[in-house]
Amino acid sequence: MHAVLEYALEKGVGYAEVKSVAGERTTIEVLDREVKELSSNTSQLFSVRVLYKGGEGIAFSSKKEGKDLVEKALAAARSFRKGVKLPVLKAFQKKIKTKCEVHPKDISLEEKKKDVLRLDVRDNFKRVNSCRMLYTESVKNVLFENSEGTSVEWDDVVSGIMVQAFAKEGIKSENFYDVDRGHKGYEILEGAREKMQETMRMAEALLSAKHPIGGVFPVVADQRLGGVFAHEAVGHGCEADLVLQNNSLLKNKIGKKIGADGLTLIDDGTREGVYGWVPVDDEGVEGQKTVLIDCGVLKSFLHSRETAAKMNAVPTGNGRAESLAYPAIPRMRCTYINEGDASFEEMLSGVKEGYYLKGTTGGEVNPATGEFLFNAQYGFKVEKGDLAEMVKAVSLQGSILKILPQIVLFGKDLKFSHGTCGKNGQGVPVSDGAPHMLLEKAQVGGQG
């Protein structure tokens, strides 16, 4: 790697970085007690990024072709001049090793297969007619070196288990799923059986859930839904590339009050082991904790090196890419809303007619207009402070600046969950979290 870097410097580049990722991924998919897929994939990718007279180019390849990659990156940099500058950072050397209680390499594939097959516990659930488990593990060696003298090596392990159950009764069918992922080892399977049981119970329970009646209501959101809210409604709007594109509603809002006093929102790359842990980002910037909203006031954006240079800010360690085949752009890590001191009962008691919404099947936001939508997995009607009938397929929509002041109560029960965030065709691992929260007014959609 070092030779490639030197070759780039000989060619007169202003900055160069060289990366390599080599890994092995194992997948076990079980569908209805049959192994549907058992596979092993080894991959390797090399990339070179150069800055040359204000132009920037990236080249990648699955072949180890160091000098050719420099030439290709240079050709790309020469074709498009853009006046790029990067902030100069203090060089550091770092070796990181993901902590595993049980390293996946220490367990045989045979044993793993048996363990995943054992997760199908449907005998106690008569209406569950199909279930699926997907176990993935990826053991990677990541190398980074740049012309400033920074070098990083990360021996990483990412494990994940997804469980999904389908339930059927007459012509009705429903499904429910749950996922656990993180920078950890085989211990990911601890508690997976219980997760599967709960998933089956929920799939059956949804069979008798009703579609909600749409309209504007007070809503209590659980931690998962609250986490998606933190991510979609606020996090994306704080990504500095969108701000620079005039594509974020939060553009001129730094220092301004945009949420209730109780709202503090953080994007944190230092939570070791969680999905979205970024000890060093894909541009060689060390991980950190970034406060986005402090007591309702917008404090910071999320930066890559390039956006930080353009906005005269300090890089926040958010330059991330799906793989070496993609450019690093500002992305979230673990985004969460801080705890308050309200109890769940206190939140419910204030709701005459509304909803308690739980879980999520995802969401989306248009950062320019601030309009967002996210779906709860299920929920309950709330009548005079009490939980009533179960509802399904519920979505929430609104616009950021209108809804933020509507969150009036924050619970003391912060919890995290994880997912994959998509932006510009790239998916990266993230986590999000929140305590239970009460939204005074929110637009609920449903078919009822």
Partner: protein, 428 residues
């Protein structure tokens, strides 16, 4: 290369399949008027599936020089896998129809992309001085694939594809649009997008209730992709997860609706001579005049159900094949799009929704925000709408539709007309 791999694996297993894929990607992004990310890359990989008795093993590698290790891993995995009693055999040899491969993209490089982006900029500027490009991306991908298996299949093909994304902004308004083709793109449609953007800057609220909604081909394609694809996938039919599993021959939709999958469509974005298992491309009727006619098969489910593959297998080197449509074509109606739009007294015209990944693909239930929609009043397309949601069940609402006469490209291989239907609208 393929010969060497075949020679190595041949005597060791009962059946094998070797899939090779190479892809070359060139991508340029703009941020505002400036180039943002410029990259070029190449990746090459090998996926090997082997069978021992009824046990299947899959391994892949992006390091071609280590193909022996990859084959050995596939064999090791097959040995410890459980037998798959549904597996019959790999795809057998077939007759391939020649599909015209477009070579224009092969010589499309940074200079051409640069010219395209410059033209795009000036088109937007000419259409309206105040409208700016927030971001844009142009990606060109060339691919080379080859498949060889123990049933005698040995076929290779090339793919070429390019896509563009552009987002316009003005004040608090934004509008994004995409385009994709197998030939180089030209920015000529941009002026129309700017015109629509300007009309949509004014936003109005809609009321709530059941309403007539005209779906633009892009919106209709998105809805089909989030649930109909699941319903016609032979795997979901076999597992009885599809709402259609026991409905072949029955009327499932309005009789005006006919839907076919056609990988031989001339000039189609997903046209090809064979699928990713080497099964010859063909035309498959899925729905004819509202009646369910058939499903999409890969070789696994095609053999299992004795139907044969419909040529709808998709994969990467690292994954087992799965089923997916090629070009999905919805038959036209007999009224022009304009007539369909002008038949609506009060309703919505929807082009883009938000939250599509939250659609319940098994049941077809959806509840989505309208990301881009306009009011329809007395037959006229008017202001944009804000804070609006639409909800319903895809299979219920397709029981009564009106279709436009003009078919358009709706993205992701869909060729479809405008569709008018009724659904629940929830205003802010």
């Amino acid at each position: 290369m393929m010969g060497e791999v075949e020679d190595y694996v041949k005597g060791k297993v009962d059946a094998y399949e070797i899939f090779y894929e190479k892809s070359e990607v060139m991508s340029v992004s703009l941020q505002g008027n400036n180039p943002d990310n410029v990259s070029e890359g190449i990746s090459e990989g090998l996926g090997v599936r082997v069978v021992l008795g009824k046990k299947i093993g899959l391994a892949s590698t992006l390091n071609l020089s280590r193909f022996k290790e990859c084959c050995d891993t596939a064999i090791k995995i097959a040995k410890l896998n459980n037998p798959d009693h549904h597996f019959v055999k790999f795809q057998e040899k077939g007759k391939y129809s020649e599909v015209k491969e477009n070579k224009e993209l092969a010589s499309f490089g940074f200079e051409e992309i640069k010219k395209y982006l410059e033209d795009l900029r000036s088109e937007v500027k000419d259409a309206d001085k105040k409208t700016k490009i927030a971001s844009a991306n142009y990606t060109r991908a060339l691919g080379e694939c080859r498949i060889k298996n123990s049933e005698g299949v040995d076929v290779e093909w090339q793919t070429a594809f390019n896509s563009r994304y552009c987002e316009l902004v003005q004040g608090k308004n934004a509008l994004g649009f995409t385009d994709e083709a197998v030939v180089p793109l030209v920015p000529k449609k941009v002026a129309e997008e700017v015109k629509r953007f300007l009309l949509m800057r004014k936003k109005k609220k809609v009321g709530s209730g059941m309403m007539e909604v005209v779906m633009h081909p892009e919106a209709f394609a998105d809805l089909l992709a989030s649930s109909f694809h699941f319903a016609v996938d032979a795997e979901n039919v076999f597992l009885k997860k599809s709402v259609f599993w026991d409905k072949v021959g029955q009327k499932v939709f309005d009789e005006k609706l006919s839907i076919v999958d056609d990988a031989l469509l001339e000039g189609g974005v997903r046209s090809r001579k064979c699928d990713d298992e080497g099964a010859p491309s063909r035309k498959t009727v899925l729905v004819e005049h509202g009646k369910l006619k058939g499903f999409l098969y890969d070789s696994y489910y095609g053999h299992l159900e004795s139907k044969g593959s419909t040529g709808n297998s998709m994969r990467s080197v690292a994954s087992s094949p799965s089923i997916g449509p090629s070009n999905l074509i919805v038959g036209q109606g007999d009224r022009s799009t304009e007539e369909v739009l002008s038949s609506v007294k009060k309703g919505l015209y929807v082009k883009r929704m938000m939250g599509l990944h939250t659609v319940d693909s098994a049941s077809g239930d959806f509840s989505l925000a309208v990301a881009e929609g306009q009011l329809l009043e007395k037959g006229e397309v008017k202001e944009g709408v804000k804070g609006t949601m639409i909800a319903g069940n895809l299979y219920e609402l397709l029981k009564s539709v009106e279709l436009g006469k003009e078919r358009m490209y709706g993205g992701d291989g869909h060729y479809i007309p405008h569709v008018l239907t009724r659904m629940r609208v929830i205003g802010a």
